[in-house]
């Protein structure tokens, strides 16, 4: 008892080192993260146009944002595209993790599979966007040429010109890009689990699903939570892919792929209604915050 107290005191005396260690982080954080966030907040209450003076206009920008049906359309587009993507992406990654960590099948070749699944994630989104808009081109794209030539479809499919198809094309491309990343995250945390647990379970004769449910799942839960939170935040910021594939901030066809960030970009950097764009950023931030906090609470409570 006495020795533990002594040890604790010894640790306590070193705690100032921890403060020193986080100084670089805190300084850069204040300048490049906190200041821009506060600055955006300030601008959101003004009619700032990117130059000159900003005049305070109260909640006008917020009211305009919340009553603009195009904002809501952009939000819905974003959620729809993210939702379809995350179900496919996490589902696939989770399935692969189960397959590769299975103690009975002992699937081989994980290093090779992992590398190939990860490949699409390495390519710049700009390259992916332009590649797919070429491959999916209605008349001259290789995909339609293949489909028509092989007789799978009679007429070419208008992948990027139909409001009922295009948003989901974007979702599937997102999944194609990101499932390998989620899989690596989940798999890395499974491999980080101390092997003794598995050995002990094997000695006790625990079955595959018992091991998965009682050992693997609880231990990778923090990573699962992390992957889903970052994916939500990433998904609500969707920009590059639809921006480059669907004709800039318009979000062709008929605005069906215009995401919130494309909407924000349009006002912030094309028509220079900086104050209004700042308010849009804050409305989106509040939405992300609420959803994330719910996710965090729900995910953390079961422990």
């Amino acid at each position: 008892m006495a020795s533990t107290t002594a040890k604790k005191n010894k640790l306590k005396n070193k705690d100032y080192v921890g403060v020193i260690m986080i100084i670089p982080f805190v300084v850069v954080f204040c300048i490049f993260s906190i200041y821009p966030v506060l600055r955006t907040l300030r601008l959101s209450f003004t009619n700032y146009k990117g130059y000159g003076d900003a005049t305070f206009n109260g909640l006008d920008n917020y009211i305009r944002c919340l009553t603009d049906k195009f904002f809501w359309r952009a939000l819905w587009n974003t959620i729809k595209m993210w939702g379809v993507n995350i179900i496919l992406q996490l589902g696939l990654a989770f399935l692969l993790t189960i397959v590769f960590s299975d103690i009975k099948y002992k699937i081989k070749g994980l290093p090779v599979f992992r590398v190939i699944y990860y490949l699409p994630n390495l390519i710049a989104v700009t390259t992916v966007a332009i590649l797919f808009s070429s491959l999916l081109d209605r008349s001259y794209g290789s995909v339609n040429q293949l489909l028509v030539h092989s007789g799978i479809t009679k007429t070419p499919i208008d992948w990027l010109g139909k409001t009922s198809i295009t948003p989901y094309v974007v979702s599937v491309i997102q999944t194609w890009m990101w499932f390998g990343n989620s899989f690596i995250m989940l798999m890395a945390s499974v491999q980080g689990i101390n092997n003794d647990y598995f050995e002990a379970a094997a000695i006790d004769g625990a079955g595959r699903w018992t091991v998965f449910g009682k050992i693997t799942l609880p231990l990778i839960k923090p990573i699962l939570l992390y992957v889903s939170i970052t994916s939500l935040i990433g998904g609500l910021q969707l920009f590059d892919l639809p921006y480059l594939m669907c004709g800039g901030t318009v979000g062709n066809p008929a605005g069906s792929t215009q995401t919130v960030i494309m909407y924000l970009y349009k006002f912030g950097f094309e028509t220079w209604q900086t104050g209004y764009a700042s308010a849009v950023a804050y409305v989106l931030f509040l939405l992300v915050l609420i959803v994330s906090l719910i996710q965090f609470k729900v995910g953390g409570k079961e422990d």
């Binding site: 070193k14 260690m21 699937i107 390495l122």
Partner: protein, 275 residues
């Protein structure tokens, strides 16, 4: 027997998924070697012979090597800063019990939800005030403070680092920073590697912020350069050249990948402390 059949089915499914991952790149490579006319006429799995002509056409418009070098100049320092300082911060937050560390942790969690793009306008405003438009500094320095990486590594260090190891090192008289560099960093290796690779790719792929901040074409990073090609009518009309530009932009990534994937595997399987 049933297990064996199931196993074969699993392998077939896994290989099919590989094909889905690779086929668009194969199509891109094939199209890069074919002339515009051939591409418009129909798809072929067999490479053509127009690669030299496509390259000649392309290089009269743009210097992709310049863009690659610019991307290296941004992504490499940003990744190193991100990995080192995130690990340091995560370790400090996980191990030391100083006042206010919970506040900092909550701020980090909240700021994970306010990523670059939401504070984009304030960030741009700050950069123009500091005269940092068209400079690489705002693309590199903020990597020191990446809340997402810190959050992940904090969770990671708490799950892999055993306190008894630290106590042992302290009893041996090792300094705190030395403990971090010699003992903690190697143990955190797999987690840092995963995050660093993710961070590098994020940086390399980054499009929106460089597009907003950089005005001079000779300073464009590769993604900005590739995207700007799309707007050049002559190139988007010459499809072979357009595919070739995409193929070239992928090459350095494949090279880095060959080097990194070995690293991912060795570091991920390196494991932590065994009692």
């Amino acid at each position: 027997m049933a297990t064996k059949i199931k196993k074969v089915i699993l392998y077939i499914a896994l290989i099919l998924l590989c094909v889905i991952c690779l086929i668009p790149f194969y199509m891109m490579m094939v199209n890069a070697t074919r002339s515009s006319k051939q591409i418009l006429a129909g798809f072929s799995m067999i490479p053509g012979t127009s690669i030299a002509a496509n390259y000649k056409f392309l290089s009269s418009y743009v210097n992709l090597l310049q863009g690659m070098w610019n991307s290296v100049k941004v992504a490499v320092p940003a990744t190193l800063l991100n990995a080192y300082f995130s690990a340091l911060t995560a370790y400090a937050l996980a191990i030391y019990k100083f006042k206010g560390r919970n506040v900092i942790f909550y701020v980090i969690v909240i700021f994970m939800m306010i990523p670059g793009q939401l504070s984009l306008i304030g960030f741009y405003n700050l950069c123009s005030k500091l005269k940092l438009i068209d400079s690489y500094i705002p693309l590199i320095i903020p990597a020191i403070a990446a809340p997402g990486t810190v959050f992940f590594l904090r969770q990671y260090v708490m799950s892999v680092l055993s306190p008894s190891l630290l106590e042992a090192a302290r009893i041996d008289g090792a300094g705190e920073l030395r403990i971090f560099h010699r003992i903690v960093l190697p143990i955190m290796g797999p987690g840092i590697a995963t995050m660093a690779i993710g961070g590098f790719i994020g940086n390399w792929n980054s499009y929106l912020i460089p597009m907003i901040l950089l005005n001079t074409p000779s300073k464009f990073t590769l993604p900005v350069q590739v995207a700007s090609l799309n707007a050049v009518q002559d190139i988007s009309n010459n499809r072979g050249a357009a595919y070739l530009a995409l193929a070239i932009s992928v090459i350095p990534v494949i090279v880095v990948f060959c080097f990194c994937s070995r690293w991912i595997i060795s570091s991920i399987t390196a494991g932590g402390v065994k009692e």
